[in-house]
């Protein structure tokens, strides 16, 4: 079975630690997120993975929720970032 390799950086940590993960290309990408979050000991439910594109631009993996790892690798490459999700709803101060 073919595997793909991602380098996932924890962007919320100023030391920018990263993990290198190799997964079968048919792995649902949601599982990659869960595994990466576990490795960094952050909650997967409140985390998201975004990409590094060209010119250091960061694009949202808008199709990643229904994607497998192999498709994500083909479209976005191997360099990914894990960020904490924000949730807003509070009142104005």
């Amino acid at each position: 079975m073919s595997k793909v390799t991602f380098k996932i950086t924890l962007t919320s940590d100023p030391r920018l630690p990263y993990k290198v993960l190799s997964v079968p290309e048919s792995t649902p990408f949601t599982a990659v997120l869960k595994f990466a979050a576990e490795e960094f000991k952050v909650p997967s439910a409140t985390s998201a993975i975004i990409t590094n594109g060209e010119l250091c631009e960061t694009d949202l993996l808008h199709n990643a929720l229904s994607c497998v790892a192999g498709n994500v690798f083909l479209k976005h490459g191997s360099e990914l970032r894990l960020i904490p999700r924000d949730r807003v709803g509070g009142h104005r101060d």
Partner: protein
């Protein structure tokens, strides 16, 4: 009567929501003076949009809907400034439609529809991409203060110069959604042009909204330095007419 945690949308039907939406104010920031004296670098939103806020379409979402309202403001900009999408002749999606979109893309379970759950910039990015084919750039700004001036301000200048579309800003400790319409940098720091979705009440005129601070230049130094922030920046230059 609403079930626990669920929304009672009341007597507002779709037509009423659409009618109320069409009466919303456009470009509420026009006429605001520059916040800094002397030479400045100023980068601003380009194009029309409507100001969405708590209860503006008859649906009372106080305490939970501010992220949705900022998303609606962004959607209205796309409506006025981008190629028409075949499925959308509405200025902005309603709150139920936003929730349904998130269920449809698989980010939320079916029970999310009809709830009062908060959303953030990641969800906003998913919805804009799903409904309008507009990809978004997400920028994470770590807490501590330094990155606000160094990272966020630079990103916002680049964004408004290239795309000109409104930005959504959300955080953790700072859990109030902010619509960002511009950025201004002088020798002593930067200001963000913020449109606040937390207003609730009768429709105000533009000058009154500005006087009360619901749309205003805010110093970056006034943001919560202990909070991280995420910026959702629609990459709309790919969708311009």
């Amino acid at each position: 009567m609403a079930r626990e945690g669920k929304i009672d949308w009341g007597m507002c039907d779709v037509e009423e929501i659409n009618m109320k939406t069409e009466t919303l104010l456009k470009n509420v920031q026009t006429g605001l003076p520059v916040p800094l004296p002397g030479p400045v670098k100023r980068s601003l939103i380009k194009g029309d949009f409507l100001y969405f806020y708590y209860g503006c379409d008859g649906q009372d979402d106080r305490g939970w809907g501010c992220g949705y309202r900022t998303l609606q403001t962004m959607a209205s900009w796309i409506y006025f400034n981008c190629s028409p999408h075949k499925d959308h002749n509405k200025i902005a999606p309603s709150l139920p439609e936003i929730q349904q979109a998130l269920v449809s893309v698989g980010d939320k379970p079916a029970s999310f529809s009809g709830s009062k759950e908060w959303i953030g910039t990641f969800e906003a990015s998913l919805v804009l991409d799903y409904l309008y084919d507009v990809p978004c750039k997400l920028v994470h700004v770590r807490g501590g203060g330094a990155e606000l001036e160094q990272v966020a301000v630079e990103e916002l200048h680049r964004h408004f110069e290239k795309h000109g579309s409104p930005v959504m800003m959300g955080g953790d400790r700072d859990n109030s959604s902010k619509g960002i319409l511009g950025v201004c940098t002088g020798t002593n720091g930067s200001y963000l042009l913020v449109v606040d979705p937390h207003y609730f009440g009768s429709k105000l005129e533009k000058t009154e909204l500005q006087m009360r601070g619901w749309v205003a230049w805010k110093p970056v130094s006034s943001l919560d330095r202990s909070s991280f922030y995420n910026l959702c920046m629609p990459q709309t230059d790919r969708k311009r007419t």
